[in-house]
Symmetry: C2
Subunit: 453 residues, 2 copies
């Protein structure tokens, strides 16, 4: 037993990226941390891939990593994607930068990142990992949590005065909170499933497409995307409805799959030699969103990351939002002198609106990615936004707010509504295609700015 | 073991009104039914009240009871409430009939109704009740369900090829379904809590207020209601926000409670001699709403009643909606020749929109009851609606559709939107207070009818 009177302690449930990063924050504060994880130790088992192979990291993620003092150890594994490259049906390519010249989002390997965080956390003498441990029960009133050791089949029950639950979208801790009085909870699946596929590296290890971009094949109600990996390959993800005219339910044999890809993603097919094998070997996975409130229970149990706010991946913000939870909690630790009984309720109340906002923004971005990225009016809007941003540095396009700043998500969502209204007016300017850089745009912008304050 | 090859069998989870009524339907079809209930047998223990003391029964409830062939046994216990009586702050009373002369909703004792249904169900030789049994696990793939016998502490696991779960808003069966892929789920608590209070009978057993009405003290954001009981008493329910200026959080001592009632419900206070004792003895309870989809799993497990669609009580439709589930399922049994593998998915798909609609209608009726019932414009609208209904029997006010017909709830909700639009136009007629029965109203109505088809 650790000496509880002198060393503060906490239990972290979940050793994914968010749980492990938060463990590092706690360990740096001198906490004794016991981390319980259902899966096996990836340091021993080797990382087996899992479903989501790579992630997009943006400023919020880097901010958390920097605040944890571990940026140097993680920076090398990230591939910068300063823009997106759109693949039209006829194979035509077009490019849109995400932000200004020095701005980019980063493709990182989920497994590689998680492994590195585990190594950093495990190096603290006050951190203990317990893998293959499944949370079976949480007795809130008695402050006890129970785990099954899945290797031995034995059960143990622990005193748990302070629990941080970063155990994901299907959080066991949240299931316990769900049964407490006045706990609001929503889980919703979108109509689309996803399947991961691959574009392997060239024989010489180089990438078969431009690695300095996120590639998108927008096709209206569905899309294919590809993110570069450090080994020269790309991980592709097909997002497609489960049911309907063009959907997974019709892709039932080799021929149907081949015809579908040939028709909609013909320029990708020659780059995917194992398309058919991959299609059958990899699962079709669902996409769940989770909202709940409160995120905490009596200042003693806190939900973090996907356990509190699982979103769809279309803004590349899932992990960034979870990492930002850590940044904010760590700041509040100072603000409230480490008094968790005040930090947890306050965090839950302040941060909830940001969880809701990034979900809404991610749902909107799905429509943008699959539907609008190929729309001339939309591209024109992007061009005007970039020019306004250049001329008026105060004016931040919403994508930049979300990806290249730490401005709260709920502010970005409000700004999205405001900017949508402004661009409706701008795009209604007569012959806007030829006047996109003219004085009329500046006039609408000035009026809008005067209004918005 | 029963002879499974000849007698079809089913497990019903929950012996509340809906579970017990559905058991009767199944028993009449020749099913062997095992009913598992967490609570003790109220026939032995005596009915201990529970939280919700009485219920409003309307046409949908009676339709189910009639279809089950048990109307005679249940009719006597119901008290007709043909209208609502509104108590103004100054004690002034006004009365609004709910429908036409022969139409009423009925106050029934929840305990009494449940007991009677239990007696009817238990009289079938093919029905077996198992009280004090808590559902602990549902293994969907293996079709096995486990219960703990709470009296002995023993556990048993049963083969369960067909399960009907009527185990309420906190359904254990639904918690199992919630973890299946693509199961949508929402639980939301409204801002208000409720507390039950009582107006006892006069010494001679008579009622202290008009028993032929549902009494309402509408006060804007909160209200008190009272339903008559057969023993001469009334059960009162206070609906009040948990937090805020006027809320439960400020009613922390005798004086505050007394002052609050004296200020807002002064005509009720003399009728409530045990107000203060009751206020402290009875819990403040929360009000949860539940929506989910699908309501079934692979044609083998079905959620019914509150387990599938828990709503707020403001339309008096909670139990009626659950009973209507039974009516419709029983009709579908004939339509699909008893093939549950087809009935369950079809029921889930058809009925979901009705569950959503009655939730929305009940939320709207809360605003009507607490806020509008005392509003002159609203009363005028009611008067005009009644007159239109008289003159045009085809025109059914939404309240009548919901309470005095079996028209699907989703049709009633659509009609509510349509009628709201019409009454906005009618109430905008100049000097409508004096022209409410004039030709201009008829003109707007005729136009509206022509539009709506």
């Amino acid at each position: 037993m650790p000496d509880q009177t002198h060393t503060p302690s906490a239990i972290v449930v979940g050793a994914g990226p968010v749980g492990t990063l938060w463990t590092i924050f706690l360990a740096r504060r001198g906490y004794r941390v016991d981390v319980y994880e259902r899966r096996s130790d990836m340091r021993a088992a080797g990382y087996t891939g899992g479903r989501s192979i790579n992630l997009a990291m943006s400023v919020r993620g880097w901010t958390a990593i920097e605040q944890a003092g571990i940026r140097d150890q993680l920076e090398n594994a990230a591939l910068a994607m300063p823009g997106r490259k759109m693949h039209a049906v006829d194979g035509t390519l077009s490019y849109q930068p995400y932000g200004k010249a020095n701005e980019a989002i980063y493709s990182v390997s989920r497994g590689g990142l998680n492994l590195e965080l585990l190594n950093i956390a495990a190096a603290f003498p006050n951190v203990q990992f317990h893998f293959d441990h499944r949370c079976t029960e949480l007795d809130l009133n008695a402050s006890r949590i129970s785990f099954e050791d899945m290797k031995t089949g034995t059960h143990k029950t622990l005193e748990a005065p302070l629990i941080f639950a970063a155990d994901g979208a299907f959080s066991a801790v949240r299931y316990a909170l769900q049964r407490t009085d006045r706990f609001d909870y929503v889980q919703r699946y979108i109509d689309h499933g996803y399947k991961e596929l691959t574009i392997p590296a060239n024989p010489d290890g180089s990438h078969r497409m431009d690695p300095l971009a996120l590639h998108i094949w927008p096709r209206g109600n569905f899309m294919l995307i590809a993110l570069p990996n450090a080994d020269g390959s790309f991980t592709c993800t097909l997002f497609l409805p489960y049911e309907g005219d063009i959907s997974f339910e019709h892709l039932t044999n080799d021929e149907a799959v081949r015809a579908f890809f040939q028709r909609y993603f013909s320029d990708a097919v020659p780059l995917m030699p194992t398309l058919i094998e991959d299609f059958w070997a990899n699962p079709t996975s669902s996409l769940v969103t989770v909202q709940c409130y409160p995120w905490q229970w009596q200042g003693r149990v806190l939900l973090m990351g996907d356990a509190a706010h699982a979103i769809v991946p279309f803004y590349g913000q899932g992990m960034n939002a979870g990492f930002e939870d850590c940044t904010i909690l760590d700041q509040m630790y100072d603000e409230f002198s480490g008094d968790w009984s005040r930090i947890l309720p306050e965090f839950s109340q302040r941060r909830k609106q940001d969880g809701d906002a990034i979900l809404e923004l991610a749902l909107r971005n799905f429509i943008e990615m699959r539907d609008l990225v190929g729309d001339p009016k939309f591209l024109l809007r992007k061009k005007i936004a970039a020019r306004l941003h250049e001329r008026h540095p105060d004016f931040l396009p919403v994508y930049s707010m979300v990806s290249f700043s730490n401005i709260p998500y709920h502010v970005a969502l409000r700004e999205d509504d405001r900017q949508n209204a402004m661009f409706r007016d701008i795009l209604a300017i007569p012959d806007i295609e030829n006047n996109w850089d003219g004085p009329e745009v500046e006039r609408v912008f000035a009026e809008w700015q005067a209004k918005g304050g």
